[in-house]
């Protein structure tokens, strides 16, 4: 190649080689169209890659090319560019996104037709552009950049064509070309950054949607620091959680009942009883957690049925009442156990009394604080009152603690079977209390419209619900 003389054209070797090597790549380019496969191009370009780095050779080569030859191979310089692009493509591996590839697919073909028009203007000024382009490509590994480089090369060529100056090192042209390059590079980088930002936020969005869906479907009630369910109030969350606890409760009670009827061994029953105690521990824990967020909802019993709410004591059942009910309902209880249960009832009564008195004093204190506030500016008093109300949570916690301790002590006093039976009694009692609430609600609804005969019919279904449970109740 170096031996080639200016003005002479040696068709045989250089062109031939390039033509041969160009053919597979050109056929690839022509055949595949938009589905440009750079992988296959690699091999074809591999050979050319050696030639790309040889600047001087190319320079001398182009200097000696007359216009006639160009007309014969109008797209040859473009091929050369494409191959060099492909070469740098190989260098910069798997960085390209689909969009970049598709844009690249358009670009190589686009300058082709105008290039053929410009074939006549192809002169030594193009040699300069080739040099600059090659330098760019060796300097820059950016794939997207190389996709647009044919375009910029095309622009350069246009610019080169407009200047009738033959001198390759025109300062103005140089500066303009450099500025063009810079602008193109900057815009490409900006586009890349924007696309990356879009992708990451899309991923985040899908993840958030998944989390939300999961939380909604499960009604998750984890620690509040996570911020799950910011739209759902803590009271509503607790109601959902309590409903699930009730279902679990029903399931466990059915298991206990079946276990008693099947006369399972003591160990197995003990396992079930322990499991049921844990079940109660769970509801106390959840109540404690909710109370930190919304103490009034728990203490006022918004999560209970109406009848339950009427007989509520500090957000739950009164342990001494439950013990009394058990003493009356349980059969086959030894003397010592009955004494123990009376003692337990007595202790819990004293504790309940103490807590009630403490709560009364709290109420008195809050009322005094608010009532004593001056009409105009009672902000200070309100702040103090709010601080006092914070003690409510403590009372609720102590009340739940008392309930929990009472249940545990009950299990210690009684045998395993008796403990299982007492859980069934308690569960039954609450089921009836809830049925009573719904009965009452339907009775007051129907009273105004229907006669007494139909009234009894309306309530039959609720009565039927009570019947089978009543049988179980009496068997204990």
């Amino acid at each position: 190649m170096a031996s080639q003389r200016i003005g002479e054209l040696d068709f045989s070797e250089p062109y031939g080689i390039h033509h041969r090597i160009n053919n597979p790549s050109s056929s690839l380019i022509n055949d595949q169209g938009s589905g440009f496969d750079f992988g296959e191009l690699e091999e074809a370009i591999g050979l050319q890659g050696v030639k790309i780095r040889n600047d001087e050779t190319k320079a001398s080569f182009f200097t000696g090319k007359p216009a006639a030859t160009l007309e014969m191979f109008p797209s040859w310089p473009m091929r050369f560019h494409q191959s060099s692009i492909g070469g740098t493509n190989n260098k910069s591996g798997g960085e390209s996104s689909d969009s970049a590839l598709s844009s690249k697919n358009e670009n190589p073909f686009e300058p082709e037709s105008p290039l053929s028009k410009k074939a006549s203007s192809f002169c030594s000024s193009d040699q300069l552009q080739h040099l600059q382009l090659q330098q760019d490509m060796t300097n820059n590994n950016d794939v997207i950049k190389t996709a647009s480089s044919p375009k910029s090369a095309h622009e350069k060529r246009k610019g080169g064509g407009s200047t009738s100056d033959n001198k390759p090192l025109d300062a103005k042209t140089l500066r303009r070309l450099a500025q063009n390059r810079e602008a193109a590079r900057k815009s490409r980088l900006r586009k890349k950054a924007y696309v990356q930002q879009l992708e990451s936020s899309r991923l985040k969005l899908t993840q958030l949607e998944q989390d939300l869906q999961r939380a909604r479907s499960q009604g998750m009630f984890m620690d509040w620091s996570g911020g799950v369910g910011s739209n759902i109030s803590s009271g509503a969350m607790f109601d959902m959680e309590y409903a699930r606890w009730l279902e679990e409760d029903n399931r466990l009670l059915t298991e206990l009942r079946n276990g008693l009827e099947a006369a399972l061994s003591d160990n197995e029953m003990r396992v079930m009883v322990e499991g049921y105690l844990c079940h109660y521990d769970e509801v106390f824990r959840v109540k404690g957690v909710t109370a930190k967020a919304d103490v009034f909802h728990v203490i006022n019993g918004g999560w209970t049925s109406q009848a339950e709410r009427c007989f509520l004591w500090i957000g739950g059942f009164r342990p001494s009442e439950i013990i009394m009910m058990l003493i009356q309902q349980l059969e086959a209880v030894a003397e010592q156990q009955i004494m123990g249960m009376y003692g337990l009832r007595h202790s819990s009564q004293q504790a309940e009394e103490a807590l009630s008195q403490g709560l009364d004093q709290l109420q008195q204190s809050v009322v005094d604080t608010i009532a004593g506030a001056p009409l105009v500016d009672g902000v200070q008093q309100m702040v103090v009152a709010v601080g006092k109300l914070a003690n409510l949570e403590g009372f609720l916690r102590q009340a739940d603690n008392l309930r929990q301790q009472t249940l545990h002590q009950l299990c210690r006093l009684l045998t395993v079977r008796q403990a299982a039976r007492s859980f069934l009694v308690i569960g039954e009692y609450y089921a009836r209390l809830r049925a009573l609430s719904s009965l009452w609600a339907s009775r007051s609804r129907d009273q105004t419209i229907i006669t007494s005969d139909e009234n009894s019919c309306q309530t039959t279904t609720d009565m039927q619900m009570l019947q089978p449970s009543h049988n179980h109740f009496s068997s204990f």
């Binding site: 004293q350 008195q357 102590q398």
Partner: protein
């Protein structure tokens, strides 16, 4: 004395630091001794605050059982803050702990432990042993 301290600090920082630590430990021990002295004076000692409602609940509980208790209102004591800190250290907790009860000179704890003991049935024997309850 201050001049001495300053010179110590300038000359020997480590020793000065150790001196400070030792002094704080001595103060803490003094406080602990004071608390121990108070609780050994009566069978049942309650550390409470006059404005706290849970303290009132605890006092009512003992009253209902017929137990005479000695109550220390820490908000009316000049060294109340320090004693509260000592109690917090005893209970190994960082939150405000009142009320705290000692029976027979031994630490029982806060309201929840007291209720647990009572429901257990172990509170009455404890009181009898301390001589606070006769039946």
């Amino acid at each position: 004395m201050n001049q001495e301290k300053l010179m110590h600090y300038q000359v020997d920082p480590w020793n000065y630091y150790m001196m400070r630590v030792r002094r704080r430990r001595m103060e803490e021990e003094d406080e602990m001794e004071r608390v121990m002295r108070i609780v050994s004076e009566s069978a049942v000692v309650i550390f409470s605050s006059s404005s706290c409602c849970m303290c009132h609940a605890m006092k009512s509980l003992f009253c209902g059982m017929g137990v005479n208790t000695m109550v220390h209102e820490l908000d009316q004591d000049s060294k109340g803050k320090q004693m509260e800190k000592t109690l917090m250290r005893l209970l190994a907790t960082n939150s405000t702990t009142l009320p705290v009860v000692f029976i027979g000179g031994k630490l029982v704890g806060s309201m929840d432990t007291l209720l647990a003991f009572h429901v257990n049935g172990s509170l009455v024997p404890l009181l009898k042993q301390a001589g606070a309850l006769w039946l």
